[in-house]
Symmetry: C2
Subunit: 263 residues, 2 copies
């Protein structure tokens, strides 16, 4: 955008030079054609509205499976993810979940469960996505696995606060993640380093679940919990595939994620 403005600016400048019999009139004032700034703003505003609308469609689960973010929304999503927007949304969902958790009367039989997803729910892969176009690049599982193996994903702070709260309230915490079983050790190491101090189950995707949609895998795992007598009272995840399907939680909390989609 800045480049375009500069280009137009210099175009007028050069036309001033080449055709005007008084190439440098005093005072030297070079004006945009009337209203051109307004047009830029309108274009910016329209694009911003379109990208906000796309993001809402993501968060309301209205979109068909998508593989990359819209190219024209790259700047918008970068601003959202690295600015106040993402942080604010994370804080709000954590707060709402906490308010809900507080209202529940737990039965103290060790069967009240809160489920957390891991990636973009407890741990942030934003440092990876900053280097990979915020979801503009097609997902590269090999590169992403390398990042996971570093075990340096930071905590999502508002989620850590919720985590502490539901632990203190007496919930059992089950971590249910699409990460592969082979990443168990590094995942434990990363979670611990990021401040997540204890959990009751860490369920990763074993060999027998390869190739299943996340919705199916997670629904099966939740159904097993229910069969074992657990009550799933809360569920936090950044993907609708964390939340929808069989044995859904009494209440689900959708964390924002405009960077990728897992069916």
């Amino acid at each position: 955008m800045l480049l375009l403005k500069l280009f137009i600016f210099f175009s007028f400048f050069s036309s001033t030079f080449s055709h005007d019999p008084h190439p440098l009139p005093r005072p030297l004032i070079i004006q945009y054609p009337e209203g051109i700034e307004t047009h830029f703003h309108e274009f910016d505003d329209e694009l911003k509205s379109q990208c906000t609308s796309w993001r809402f469609a993501v968060e309301a689960n209205n979109l068909s499976p998508w593989k990359t973010i819209p190219e024209e929304c790259l700047g918008y999503i970068k601003d959202y993810m690295t600015g106040r927007g993402y942080e604010m949304d994370l804080e709000r969902v954590s707060k709402e979940a906490g308010v809900y958790a507080n209202t529940l009367e737990l039965s103290r039989d060790g069967k009240d469960v809160w489920i957390f997803d891991i990636d973009e729910t407890l741990l942030s892969n934003l440092p990876y996505y900053v280097e990979h176009g915020y979801g503009l690049e097609i997902f590269d599982p090999i590169e992403f696995d390398k990042w996971v193996q570093r075990g340096t994903a930071p905590a999502i702070e508002p989620s850590l606060q919720l985590y502490e709260k539901v632990l203190d309230l007496g919930f059992k915490i089950f971590l249910l993640t699409g990460r592969n079983e082979q990443h168990r050790l590094i995942t434990i190491e990363n979670l611990t380093k990021a401040g997540f101090r204890r959990w009751d189950k860490l369920i990763l995707r074993g060999r027998e679940h390869h190739g299943k949609l996340a919705t199916v895998f997670k629904s099966e795992k939740r159904s097993e919990m229910v069969e074992e007598g657990y009550r799933i009272l809360g569920n936090s995840g950044d993907q609708w595939s964390d939340l929808l399907g069989a044995a859904a939680s009494s209440r689900s909390f959708k964390l924002p994620n405009p960077m990728y989609y897992i069916p």
Copy 2:
């Protein structure tokens, strides 16, 4: 905001007059204290971000039941509802639903169903809410009933386009609404006037369903459809209580509605 700016502007002006030995220096340039414009923008931007975040929480179903919109977001929601934002979101959800409908192979046995909610899905009550603070006033069922009885709610155009499309594709259309049975005739009249040309069932809330949550009422009605052998392939509604619960549709489409919440 403008008044405040003018006030500050004239405050500086008058102080220039009263204390300066050269009341009208040349050139006459009156400056805001450094950064004051930036502060105004920051305040505006922060509020806008907060209200966008609230709207995101509504659309992702993260909020506890709420009765009125946040007071500070009135201007934001008014702008959204009457500007391009709402329109854009309606168009997107209609388009996405249409794309999905096109991909389905219907079985031509008359059992493929698309469910539509009515208020804020097919018909717009925006003219009513414009007069009632865009959701800032507590819902008044008597006043709202009077509005419904006028039968003048306009069509939501993108929904009408989707409606036509799914009809043409051969779906059965079931209208499932929380409106009371006593409004059946005026509802038919209003729908017809707004251009909705035919449907296969119009299910309103009868006396036996009074006092039930919308989620329960609608889940029961969907379950009956499934028992009768219908396949619910699509469901369009502006409330999560239109979409969640038993016998959920294969895919659901959440229309935007930041003005009110029905549990």
